[in-house]
Subunit: 248 residues, 3 copies
Amino acid sequence: MFNAIVRADTLQATLDSVGVLVDECKIHFDDAGLEIRAVDPANVGMVDLTLDTDAFESFEVDEGLIGVDLVRLQDIAGMASGDQLVHLELDEETRKLHISIDGLEYTLGLLDPESIREEPDLPEDLDLPANIVIEGRDIDRAVKAADMVSDHIELGLDDSEDVFYVAAEGDTDDVHLELDNDDLIDLVSGPASSLFSLEYLKNMNKAIPKDTEVTMELGEEFPVKLHFDIAEGEGAVTYMLAPRIQSN
Amino acid sequence: MFNAIVRADTLQATLDSVGVLVDECKIHFDDAGLEIRAVDPANVGMVDLTLDTDAFESFEVDEGLIGVDLVRLQDIAGMASGDQLVHLELDEETRKLHISIDGLEYTLGLLDPESIREEPDLPEDLDLPANIVIEGRDIDRAVKAADMVSDHIELGLDDSEDVFYVAAEGDTDDVHLELDNDDLIDLVSGPASSLFSLEYLKNMNKAIPKDTEVTMELGEEFPVKLHFDIAEGEGAVTYMLAPRIQSN
Amino acid sequence: MFNAIVRADTLQATLDSVGVLVDECKIHFDDAGLEIRAVDPANVGMVDLTLDTDAFESFEVDEGLIGVDLVRLQDIAGMASGDQLVHLELDEETRKLHISIDGLEYTLGLLDPESIREEPDLPEDLDLPANIVIEGRDIDRAVKAADMVSDHIELGLDDSEDVFYVAAEGDTDDVHLELDNDDLIDLVSGPASSLFSLEYLKNMNKAIPKDTEVTMELGEEFPVKLHFDIAEGEGAVTYMLAPRIQSN
């Protein structure tokens, strides 16, 4: 059984956070809420999203799993205004999802979960010694500036390990952003410097609210992890992005 | 003689209501006001629009007829802000229309009315037993949702004849909207169920204000008629849309 | 030395005023402020822009000259919100411009001034007897209306020389705008009538604020000069546009 009612803006934030990486995904649910894990086709960017039962107006489920066309589901959720309620109910027999928005009923054909790319396990035990807490709007600025000069972006802590930096190098132009303890919400020192594909970080950035605190875990030529809350703290998103080999 | 002054928003609503179906039209005028009737090239959608003299700030005309390029006239009207006055004056000799907006004068070459597709007569005596009055925004929601799954849309009353429904069936997904007496402004019962091309209804929907009451007349595999007011009740639009043969 | 701090909106207005004509330009600076002169590749439209030191929050320069990619510099300035401060500092050795916006540092490779099209001298001694002062929004209206019917626009004073007119003639439609002393901020009489490429005037119009007073100097088949202020009067822009031969 899956029978839940959720605000449209909560549903939209949930779907958008995953939709920036993949077009289809599996949604797991049990009495704790729902979880979505997904990895992009190139195995470079991963997402792990949880949404607690408290994020729902009503949540009656047995443990289960559905496969969905995210693009389609985003379109449907997009028909509702932010504070409207969306009622989601799984028809076990037909394997269709009934979605009601103020009298409008949409019957969504589900995907066979077997047909969807296998879910990743986001490693918990990565050695990511540096840890910063940064505003979403600063990530946005850094990503947009870097995008003007390069396809890659370097994230790290400087040698003194008390300043977080973002750097991008183009053929003629460079971009550099430094944020110290005063600019950041928090900074835990450690050696960190890694190069990433800007394309992925741009997509992740689209789903990160500008006024959100984002925790960033970094290491030396290691993946970066980005954590932030959605649904007023009742949901959590973790992105992990694999590093690129630094050529210099 | 045709010499009239009208608010830009009234002129825009008038032209937009016809422009969603055709690019050129004949405009008839006499001492009661003006009237436009038009049918799309495929003879599927028709419009009959009247605008009373009271919709004008000033209206001095002898009975007559002009042919206009609607797209061009919409562009000109679009240069004015809503509450600006537009002065329209026909030069009988040159057969050009002088359009003045706050000192700006546009001279519009008219079309030979003979060159414009013949005007339809919207049948008055159709057997359309069901009759509902619905808000423009509900038509908008139904049309946009149906558009996500199909090229067709079914409009009718359910078997009990006290619920108006909209339905669209796609390959994997369906859309259904039910509105009863509480959701509608009015409902007159009668057997009704017809399938329509969504393309036409989408175009008509563009011209229907969201906060307007729309009267919809329906029958069994019969055309639908949509009536709504423009120009604060001084103008009236009727759309008629021919049904498609239901395949099931 | 070039080391200056300026509000982002002042920098944006400066760059946009030149960017509507050319993609690259030389920027001259000395202790009076900065100056940019440029002409489009076809030698039809010219711009002369000055920005006084008072337009800057801080301005420490030795006389000098840099060549810039305007499009790139506009993109960078566009990352800042209007009231943010932009710090510009020239690195004499590397010939790069360091641009800082709230902690974000952009290093812009400069262009060899020798590689940029030679700067024009806007003639001071043109015989332009007619002179009007007009609101930017009236230029906008005239340009947009003319654009609906023609590629050319005629500007002049009527025979009585007390009415400024704009005219454009299309194959079937004409546009005419007349503004007299009451509509204009000022009018100095003189014989004036010239035809211009609308393409250029459209581009210049993009950079003219709607609520600005524009002084227009006109003659008989002579160039038009347009003067307006930017940066709250601390900067001045002059456009000059060459006339086209009138065919009639």
